[in-house]
Protein backbone atom coordinates (compact mmCIF):
# COMPACT_ATOMS: atom_id res chain seq x y z
CA UNK A 1 0.00 0.00 0.00
CA UNK A 2 2.95 2.31 -0.51
CA UNK A 3 3.86 3.67 -3.93
CA UNK A 4 6.93 2.38 -5.73
CA UNK A 5 9.89 4.79 -5.77
CA UNK A 6 9.88 7.56 -8.36
CA UNK A 7 11.76 10.70 -9.30
CA UNK A 8 9.93 13.91 -8.57
CA UNK A 9 9.92 16.99 -10.82
CA UNK A 10 8.08 20.18 -9.89
CA UNK A 11 8.12 22.56 -12.86
CA UNK A 12 7.56 26.25 -12.20
CA UNK A 13 6.15 27.11 -15.62
CA UNK A 14 4.17 25.52 -18.43
CA UNK A 15 7.13 25.35 -20.87
CA UNK A 16 9.21 23.67 -18.14
CA UNK A 17 6.39 21.18 -17.49
CA UNK A 18 5.98 20.39 -21.20
CA UNK A 19 9.72 19.95 -21.61
CA UNK A 20 9.79 17.46 -18.71
CA UNK A 21 6.76 15.60 -20.03
CA UNK A 22 8.36 15.37 -23.49
CA UNK A 23 11.61 14.09 -22.01
CA UNK A 24 10.02 11.38 -19.88
CA UNK A 25 7.09 10.54 -22.19
CA UNK A 26 5.51 7.20 -21.24
CA UNK A 27 7.79 6.83 -18.19
CA UNK A 28 6.11 9.75 -16.44
CA UNK A 29 2.72 10.57 -14.99
CA UNK A 30 1.43 14.08 -14.47
CA UNK A 31 0.34 14.76 -10.90
CA UNK A 32 -2.50 17.28 -10.63
CA UNK A 33 -4.98 16.64 -7.77
CA UNK A 34 -3.82 13.06 -7.43
CA UNK A 35 -7.22 11.77 -6.34
CA UNK A 36 -7.22 8.98 -8.94
CA UNK A 37 -3.48 8.69 -9.65
CA UNK A 38 -2.25 8.34 -6.07
CA UNK A 39 -4.71 5.55 -5.12
CA UNK A 40 -3.51 3.66 -8.21
CA UNK A 41 0.11 4.27 -7.15
CA UNK A 42 -0.59 3.19 -3.56
CA UNK A 43 -2.15 -0.02 -4.89
CA UNK A 44 0.79 -0.32 -7.31
CA UNK A 45 -1.54 -0.53 -10.26
CA UNK A 46 0.75 2.09 -11.79
CA UNK A 47 4.45 2.57 -11.08
CA UNK A 48 5.58 5.67 -12.94
CA UNK A 49 9.35 6.18 -12.90
CA UNK A 50 8.84 9.95 -12.86
CA UNK A 51 6.13 12.14 -11.36
CA UNK A 52 5.72 15.63 -12.79
CA UNK A 53 3.85 17.73 -10.26
CA UNK A 54 2.09 20.57 -12.12
CA UNK A 55 0.41 22.03 -9.02
CA UNK A 56 2.70 25.06 -8.97
CA UNK A 57 2.45 25.91 -12.66
CA UNK A 58 0.97 29.42 -12.68
CA UNK A 59 -2.12 30.30 -14.72
CA UNK A 60 -3.26 26.72 -15.19
CA UNK A 61 -6.27 26.96 -12.86
CA UNK A 62 -7.95 30.07 -14.27
CA UNK A 63 -11.66 30.20 -15.06
CA UNK A 64 -12.51 32.90 -17.61
CA UNK A 65 -14.71 33.93 -20.51
CA UNK A 66 -13.19 34.13 -23.97
CA UNK A 67 -15.54 35.19 -26.73
CA UNK A 68 -18.44 32.75 -26.64
CA UNK A 69 -16.62 30.20 -24.51
CA UNK A 70 -16.25 29.50 -20.85
CA UNK A 71 -12.59 28.50 -20.54
CA UNK A 72 -11.51 26.37 -17.59
CA UNK A 73 -7.83 25.75 -16.86
CA UNK A 74 -6.91 22.09 -16.47
CA UNK A 75 -5.81 22.62 -12.88
CA UNK A 76 -9.10 24.19 -11.67
CA UNK A 77 -10.24 22.22 -8.59
CA UNK A 78 -13.65 20.58 -8.38
CA UNK A 79 -14.45 22.60 -5.23
CA UNK A 80 -13.63 25.85 -7.05
CA UNK A 81 -15.78 24.93 -10.04
CA UNK A 82 -18.68 23.86 -7.79
CA UNK A 83 -18.60 27.29 -6.13
CA UNK A 84 -17.85 29.31 -9.29
CA UNK A 85 -20.41 31.94 -10.32
CA UNK A 86 -19.05 31.90 -13.87
CA UNK A 87 -19.72 28.16 -14.11
CA UNK A 88 -23.19 28.48 -12.54
CA UNK A 89 -24.12 31.20 -15.01
CA UNK A 90 -22.53 29.94 -18.20
CA UNK A 91 -22.55 26.17 -17.79
CA UNK A 92 -25.40 25.37 -15.40
CA UNK A 93 -25.23 21.69 -16.39
CA UNK A 94 -21.71 21.44 -14.99
CA UNK A 95 -22.73 23.26 -11.81
CA UNK A 96 -25.64 20.88 -11.29
CA UNK A 97 -23.60 17.75 -12.02
CA UNK A 98 -20.83 18.89 -9.66
CA UNK A 99 -23.21 18.57 -6.71
CA UNK A 100 -22.89 14.81 -7.20
CA UNK A 101 -19.12 14.66 -7.59
CA UNK A 102 -17.25 12.96 -4.74
CA UNK A 103 -16.84 14.41 -1.24
CA UNK A 104 -15.41 17.67 0.12
CA UNK A 105 -11.79 16.60 0.70
CA UNK A 106 -11.64 14.94 -2.73
CA UNK A 107 -13.17 18.03 -4.39
CA UNK A 108 -10.63 20.25 -2.61
CA UNK A 109 -7.81 18.53 -4.48
CA UNK A 110 -9.21 16.89 -7.63
CA UNK A 111 -9.05 18.86 -10.88
CA UNK A 112 -11.17 18.94 -14.03
CA UNK A 113 -8.14 18.33 -16.26
CA UNK A 114 -7.08 15.36 -14.16
CA UNK A 115 -10.60 13.99 -14.09
CA UNK A 116 -10.96 13.94 -17.86
CA UNK A 117 -7.41 12.70 -18.43
CA UNK A 118 -8.24 9.75 -16.16
CA UNK A 119 -11.44 9.21 -18.23
CA UNK A 120 -13.37 7.10 -15.76
CA UNK A 121 -16.66 6.06 -17.42
CA UNK A 122 -18.43 6.42 -14.06
CA UNK A 123 -17.49 10.09 -13.79
CA UNK A 124 -20.01 12.86 -14.47
CA UNK A 125 -17.68 15.31 -16.19
CA UNK A 126 -16.94 13.43 -19.43
CA UNK A 127 -20.70 13.24 -20.04
CA UNK A 128 -21.20 16.90 -19.14
CA UNK A 129 -18.47 17.99 -21.56
CA UNK A 130 -19.86 15.76 -24.30
CA UNK A 131 -23.36 17.23 -23.88
CA UNK A 132 -22.04 20.79 -23.98
CA UNK A 133 -19.98 20.34 -27.18
CA UNK A 134 -16.89 21.21 -25.16
CA UNK A 135 -13.46 21.24 -26.69
CA UNK A 136 -10.32 19.99 -25.01
CA UNK A 137 -7.12 22.01 -25.39
CA UNK A 138 -3.91 20.00 -25.23
CA UNK A 139 -0.25 20.84 -25.58
CA UNK A 140 3.07 19.17 -25.99
CA UNK A 141 6.47 20.86 -26.06
CA UNK A 142 6.06 21.77 -29.74
CA UNK A 143 2.41 22.56 -30.44
CA UNK A 144 -1.10 23.06 -29.13
CA UNK A 145 -4.20 21.36 -30.47
CA UNK A 146 -7.88 21.41 -29.64
CA UNK A 147 -10.31 18.55 -30.21
CA UNK A 148 -13.95 17.80 -29.51
CA UNK A 149 -14.63 16.26 -26.10
CA UNK A 150 -16.39 13.36 -27.81
CA UNK A 151 -13.18 12.62 -29.74
CA UNK A 152 -11.03 13.07 -26.64
CA UNK A 153 -12.59 10.11 -24.84
CA UNK A 154 -11.60 7.00 -26.77
CA UNK A 155 -12.64 4.36 -24.23
CA UNK A 156 -12.70 3.47 -20.56
CA UNK A 157 -9.65 5.11 -18.94
CA UNK A 158 -8.37 5.94 -22.43
CA UNK A 159 -8.05 9.30 -24.18
CA UNK A 160 -6.63 10.88 -27.30
CA UNK A 161 -3.68 12.25 -25.29
CA UNK A 162 -0.37 11.19 -26.83
CA UNK A 163 2.88 10.65 -24.92
CA UNK A 164 4.36 14.02 -24.09
CA UNK A 165 1.01 15.76 -24.18
CA UNK A 166 -1.16 17.24 -21.43
CA UNK A 167 -4.59 18.84 -21.15
CA UNK A 168 -4.25 22.58 -20.59
CA UNK A 169 -7.80 23.88 -20.87
CA UNK A 170 -11.43 22.98 -21.41
CA UNK A 171 -13.54 25.26 -23.62
CA UNK A 172 -17.32 25.18 -23.26
CA UNK A 173 -19.72 27.21 -25.44
CA UNK A 174 -21.66 29.40 -23.01
CA UNK A 175 -25.32 28.65 -22.37
CA UNK A 176 -27.59 30.34 -24.91
CA UNK A 177 -31.10 31.77 -24.47
CA UNK A 178 -33.98 29.27 -24.60
CA UNK A 179 -31.61 26.48 -23.60
CA UNK A 180 -32.35 24.25 -20.67
CA UNK A 181 -30.00 21.70 -19.14
CA UNK A 182 -30.34 19.09 -16.45
CA UNK A 183 -28.31 16.36 -14.78
CA UNK A 184 -29.89 13.38 -13.01
CA UNK A 185 -28.16 10.34 -11.60
CA UNK A 186 -28.82 7.25 -9.50
CA UNK A 187 -26.40 6.47 -6.72
CA UNK A 188 -26.48 4.40 -3.54
CA UNK A 189 -24.81 7.07 -1.40
CA UNK A 190 -24.28 10.76 -2.07
CA UNK A 191 -20.83 11.30 -3.58
CA UNK A 192 -20.21 7.72 -4.66
CA UNK A 193 -19.77 6.76 -8.29
CA UNK A 194 -23.16 6.78 -9.97
CA UNK A 195 -24.72 3.56 -11.24
CA UNK A 196 -26.06 5.68 -14.08
CA UNK A 197 -26.18 9.39 -14.88
CA UNK A 198 -27.89 11.33 -17.66
CA UNK A 199 -27.13 14.86 -18.81
CA UNK A 200 -29.26 16.73 -21.32
CA UNK A 201 -29.25 20.10 -23.01
CA UNK A 202 -32.23 21.20 -25.12
CA UNK A 203 -33.21 24.35 -26.96
CA UNK A 204 -36.91 25.10 -27.25
CA UNK A 205 -38.30 27.65 -29.72
CA UNK A 206 -41.90 28.10 -30.81
CA UNK A 207 -42.94 25.23 -28.56
CA UNK A 208 -40.65 22.79 -30.35
CA UNK A 209 -37.29 21.28 -29.54
CA UNK A 210 -34.79 22.75 -32.02
CA UNK A 211 -31.66 21.18 -30.58
CA UNK A 212 -31.02 18.30 -28.20
CA UNK A 213 -27.87 16.79 -26.69
CA UNK A 214 -27.81 13.84 -24.35
CA UNK A 215 -24.96 11.86 -22.82
CA UNK A 216 -24.68 9.20 -20.16
CA UNK A 217 -22.29 8.32 -17.34
CA UNK A 218 -21.75 5.00 -15.60
CA UNK A 219 -21.79 3.03 -18.85
CA UNK A 220 -18.98 1.15 -20.61
CA UNK A 221 -17.31 4.22 -22.05
CA UNK A 222 -16.97 7.81 -20.89
CA UNK A 223 -18.32 10.85 -22.72
CA UNK A 224 -20.74 9.03 -25.01
CA UNK A 225 -23.57 10.93 -26.72
CA UNK A 226 -26.76 9.27 -27.93
CA UNK A 227 -27.32 10.76 -31.43
CA UNK A 228 -30.29 8.54 -32.25
CA UNK A 229 -32.15 9.92 -29.23
CA UNK A 230 -31.20 13.50 -30.12
CA UNK A 231 -32.44 13.06 -33.67
CA UNK A 232 -35.73 11.70 -32.40
CA UNK A 233 -36.29 14.77 -30.19
CA UNK A 234 -35.51 17.56 -32.68
CA UNK A 235 -38.60 19.08 -34.29
CA UNK A 236 -40.97 17.73 -31.67
CA UNK A 237 -42.83 19.40 -28.86
CA UNK A 238 -41.27 18.11 -25.64
CA UNK A 239 -44.50 16.62 -24.31
CA UNK A 240 -44.88 13.50 -22.18
CA UNK A 241 -45.15 11.26 -25.22
CA UNK A 242 -42.00 12.57 -26.88
CA UNK A 243 -40.03 12.42 -23.61
CA UNK A 244 -41.19 8.88 -22.84
CA UNK A 245 -40.32 7.70 -26.33
CA UNK A 246 -36.88 9.35 -26.18
CA UNK A 247 -36.22 7.82 -22.77
CA UNK A 248 -37.11 4.36 -24.03
CA UNK A 249 -34.77 4.89 -26.95
CA UNK A 250 -31.99 6.03 -24.59
CA UNK A 251 -32.38 2.89 -22.47
CA UNK A 252 -32.08 0.78 -25.60
CA UNK A 253 -29.19 2.72 -27.17
CA UNK A 254 -26.68 2.71 -24.29
CA UNK A 255 -23.95 0.13 -23.84
CA UNK A 256 -24.27 -0.20 -20.09
CA UNK A 257 -21.77 -2.88 -19.13
CA UNK A 258 -22.43 -4.32 -15.74
CA UNK A 259 -21.14 -3.45 -12.30
CA UNK A 260 -21.36 -4.87 -8.80
CA UNK A 261 -24.25 -2.58 -7.88
CA UNK A 262 -26.16 -2.61 -11.15
CA UNK A 263 -26.44 -5.23 -13.87
CA UNK A 264 -27.14 -4.42 -17.49
CA UNK A 265 -30.97 -4.60 -17.52
CA UNK A 266 -31.16 -2.48 -14.37
CA UNK A 267 -28.83 0.13 -15.84
CA UNK A 268 -31.03 0.38 -18.94
CA UNK A 269 -34.04 0.97 -16.70
CA UNK A 270 -32.12 3.62 -14.78
CA UNK A 271 -31.13 5.40 -17.99
CA UNK A 272 -34.76 5.40 -19.09
CA UNK A 273 -36.05 6.83 -15.82
CA UNK A 274 -33.24 9.37 -15.50
CA UNK A 275 -33.77 10.53 -19.09
CA UNK A 276 -37.42 11.27 -18.34
CA UNK A 277 -36.41 13.28 -15.27
CA UNK A 278 -33.61 15.15 -17.02
CA UNK A 279 -35.61 16.01 -20.13
CA UNK A 280 -38.60 17.15 -18.06
CA UNK A 281 -36.41 19.41 -15.93
CA UNK A 282 -34.51 20.76 -18.95
CA UNK A 283 -37.79 21.53 -20.76
CA UNK A 284 -39.00 23.60 -17.80
CA UNK A 285 -35.72 25.49 -17.65
CA UNK A 286 -35.73 26.19 -21.39
CA UNK A 287 -39.07 27.96 -21.27
Amino acid sequence: MKPAPFDYIRPGSLPEALEAIARHASACKILAGGQSLVPMMNLRLVKPAVIIDINRVPGLADIRLDGGDLVIGALARHATLLASELVAKHCPLMAEAYRHVAHGPIRNRGTLGGNISHADPASEMPAVLAVCDAKIGMRNAKRARTIEATDFFTGALTTALADGEMVTEIRIPIAAPRQGAAWHEAVNRQGDFAMAGVGVLVTVAGGKCTQASIAVAGMERPGVRLPAVEKQLVGKALDEAAITAAARKAGAEVRPGSSYHADEPYKRELVETLTVRALTAARERAS
Binding site: M1, Y8, D53, N55, G104, N108, R109, R189, Q190
Partner: protein
Protein backbone atom coordinates in the same frame (compact mmCIF):
# COMPACT_ATOMS: atom_id res chain seq x y z
CA UNK B 1 16.16 7.88 -4.63
CA UNK B 2 17.55 11.22 -3.60
CA UNK B 3 16.01 12.87 -0.58
CA UNK B 4 14.28 16.19 -1.14
CA UNK B 5 14.42 18.89 1.55
CA UNK B 6 11.06 20.29 2.63
CA UNK B 7 10.00 22.95 5.08
CA UNK B 8 6.49 23.14 6.45
CA UNK B 9 4.47 24.20 9.44
CA UNK B 10 2.35 21.69 11.36
CA UNK B 11 0.10 22.88 14.20
CA UNK B 12 2.14 26.06 14.44
CA UNK B 13 5.56 24.37 14.62
CA UNK B 14 8.04 24.75 11.77
CA UNK B 15 9.71 21.54 10.58
CA UNK B 16 12.61 21.01 8.18
CA UNK B 17 13.05 17.48 6.91
CA UNK B 18 14.33 15.58 3.88
CA UNK B 19 11.98 13.04 2.33
CA UNK B 20 11.82 10.43 -0.38
CA UNK B 21 9.41 11.63 -3.09
CA UNK B 22 7.17 8.62 -2.51
CA UNK B 23 6.72 9.41 1.19
CA UNK B 24 2.98 9.83 1.75
CA UNK B 25 1.99 12.85 3.80
CA UNK B 26 0.16 10.53 6.22
CA UNK B 27 3.32 8.49 6.88
CA UNK B 28 5.41 11.63 7.06
CA UNK B 29 3.23 13.03 9.84
CA UNK B 30 3.15 9.79 11.81
CA UNK B 31 6.63 8.41 11.27
CA UNK B 32 8.87 11.38 10.54
CA UNK B 33 7.21 13.95 12.80
CA UNK B 34 5.87 11.43 15.35
CA UNK B 35 2.43 13.09 15.21
CA UNK B 36 0.30 10.01 15.72
CA UNK B 37 -3.19 11.53 15.91
CA UNK B 38 -3.65 11.21 12.13
CA UNK B 39 -4.73 7.64 11.46
CA UNK B 40 -4.07 5.56 8.39
CA UNK B 41 -6.85 3.25 7.22
CA UNK B 42 -7.51 2.32 3.61
CA UNK B 43 -4.61 4.24 2.04
CA UNK B 44 -6.55 4.86 -1.13
CA UNK B 45 -8.77 7.78 -0.27
CA UNK B 46 -11.96 6.01 0.77
CA UNK B 47 -12.10 5.93 4.58
CA UNK B 48 -11.10 9.51 5.40
CA UNK B 49 -9.43 8.90 8.76
CA UNK B 50 -6.16 10.40 7.47
CA UNK B 51 -7.84 13.75 6.69
CA UNK B 52 -5.79 16.81 7.68
CA UNK B 53 -6.05 20.51 6.88
CA UNK B 54 -3.55 21.84 4.33
CA UNK B 55 -3.66 25.64 4.13
CA UNK B 56 -7.14 25.47 5.67
CA UNK B 57 -8.56 22.82 3.33
CA UNK B 58 -9.44 19.27 4.31
CA UNK B 59 -7.42 16.78 2.26
CA UNK B 60 -6.64 13.08 2.37
CA UNK B 61 -3.06 12.88 3.61
CA UNK B 62 -2.76 9.35 2.13
CA UNK B 63 -3.35 10.85 -1.34
CA UNK B 64 -0.68 13.53 -0.99
CA UNK B 65 3.06 13.23 -1.01
CA UNK B 66 4.95 14.96 1.78
CA UNK B 67 7.10 16.70 -0.83
CA UNK B 68 3.97 18.45 -2.13
CA UNK B 69 3.39 20.04 1.27
CA UNK B 70 6.67 21.99 1.05
CA UNK B 71 5.86 25.52 2.23
CA UNK B 72 2.36 24.64 3.41
CA UNK B 73 0.68 25.14 6.73
CA UNK B 74 -0.91 21.98 8.13
CA UNK B 75 -3.24 21.24 11.00
CA UNK B 76 -3.88 17.79 12.44
CA UNK B 77 -5.96 16.44 15.30
CA UNK B 78 -2.78 16.55 17.44
CA UNK B 79 -3.09 20.33 17.52
CA UNK B 80 -6.78 20.77 18.39
CA UNK B 81 -6.52 20.78 22.19
CA UNK B 82 -5.21 24.04 23.59
CA UNK B 83 -3.11 23.99 26.76
CA UNK B 84 -4.17 20.44 27.54
CA UNK B 85 -7.86 21.40 27.33
CA UNK B 86 -10.22 19.90 24.74
CA UNK B 87 -11.49 22.41 22.22
CA UNK B 88 -15.25 22.85 21.65
CA UNK B 89 -15.37 20.21 18.94
CA UNK B 90 -13.50 17.64 21.00
CA UNK B 91 -15.67 18.48 24.00
CA UNK B 92 -18.76 17.88 21.84
CA UNK B 93 -17.44 14.45 20.85
CA UNK B 94 -16.68 13.72 24.53
CA UNK B 95 -20.15 14.70 25.75
CA UNK B 96 -22.18 13.10 22.95
CA UNK B 97 -20.17 9.90 22.62
CA UNK B 98 -19.07 10.81 19.11
CA UNK B 99 -16.64 7.91 19.17
CA UNK B 100 -16.54 4.31 20.22
CA UNK B 101 -13.36 2.68 18.91
CA UNK B 102 -11.95 6.07 17.95
CA UNK B 103 -10.32 5.01 14.71
CA UNK B 104 -12.26 7.41 12.46
CA UNK B 105 -12.21 10.25 15.00
CA UNK B 106 -9.20 12.28 13.78
CA UNK B 107 -10.67 12.46 10.27
CA UNK B 108 -14.12 13.33 11.60
CA UNK B 109 -12.62 16.09 13.76
CA UNK B 110 -10.75 17.58 10.82
CA UNK B 111 -13.65 17.63 8.33
CA UNK B 112 -15.82 19.10 11.10
CA UNK B 113 -13.13 21.71 11.82
CA UNK B 114 -13.15 22.77 8.16
CA UNK B 115 -16.97 22.88 8.18
CA UNK B 116 -17.26 25.01 11.32
CA UNK B 117 -14.61 27.45 10.10
CA UNK B 118 -16.60 28.03 6.92
CA UNK B 119 -20.05 27.82 8.45
CA UNK B 120 -20.50 28.50 12.15
CA UNK B 121 -24.22 27.54 12.07
CA UNK B 122 -24.40 24.39 9.94
CA UNK B 123 -27.71 22.59 9.49
CA UNK B 124 -27.96 18.88 10.23
CA UNK B 125 -27.90 18.22 6.48
CA UNK B 126 -24.71 20.27 6.11
CA UNK B 127 -23.04 18.34 8.92
CA UNK B 128 -24.08 15.06 7.32
CA UNK B 129 -22.74 16.21 3.96
CA UNK B 130 -19.41 17.22 5.53
CA UNK B 131 -18.86 13.93 7.35
CA UNK B 132 -20.13 11.87 4.40
CA UNK B 133 -16.53 11.83 3.19
CA UNK B 134 -15.54 9.68 6.16
CA UNK B 135 -16.40 6.17 7.26
CA UNK B 136 -17.34 5.16 10.81
CA UNK B 137 -18.20 1.54 11.58
CA UNK B 138 -19.27 2.05 15.22
CA UNK B 139 -21.64 4.94 15.77
CA UNK B 140 -24.02 4.82 12.83
CA UNK B 141 -23.02 8.50 12.54
CA UNK B 142 -25.89 9.72 14.78
CA UNK B 143 -23.70 10.60 17.71
CA UNK B 144 -21.10 12.19 15.45
CA UNK B 145 -23.72 14.57 14.05
CA UNK B 146 -24.91 15.29 17.61
CA UNK B 147 -21.31 15.92 18.68
CA UNK B 148 -20.83 18.56 15.99
CA UNK B 149 -24.17 20.13 16.91
CA UNK B 150 -23.06 20.20 20.55
CA UNK B 151 -19.81 21.85 19.49
CA UNK B 152 -21.80 24.58 17.75
CA UNK B 153 -23.66 25.24 21.03
CA UNK B 154 -20.43 25.24 23.03
CA UNK B 155 -18.82 27.69 20.60
CA UNK B 156 -21.83 29.99 20.89
CA UNK B 157 -21.70 29.82 24.70
CA UNK B 158 -17.95 30.43 24.58
CA UNK B 159 -18.42 33.51 22.39
CA UNK B 160 -20.81 35.12 24.90
Amino acid sequence: MALIPISLKVNGTQYERAVEPRRLLSDFLREDLDLKATHVGCEHGVCGTCTVLVDGEAVRSCLSFAVQADGAELRTADGLAQGGKLNALQQGFWEKHGLQCGFCTPGMLMVATELLERNAQPTKAEIEEAISANLCRCTGYYTIVESVQRAVELMKEGAK
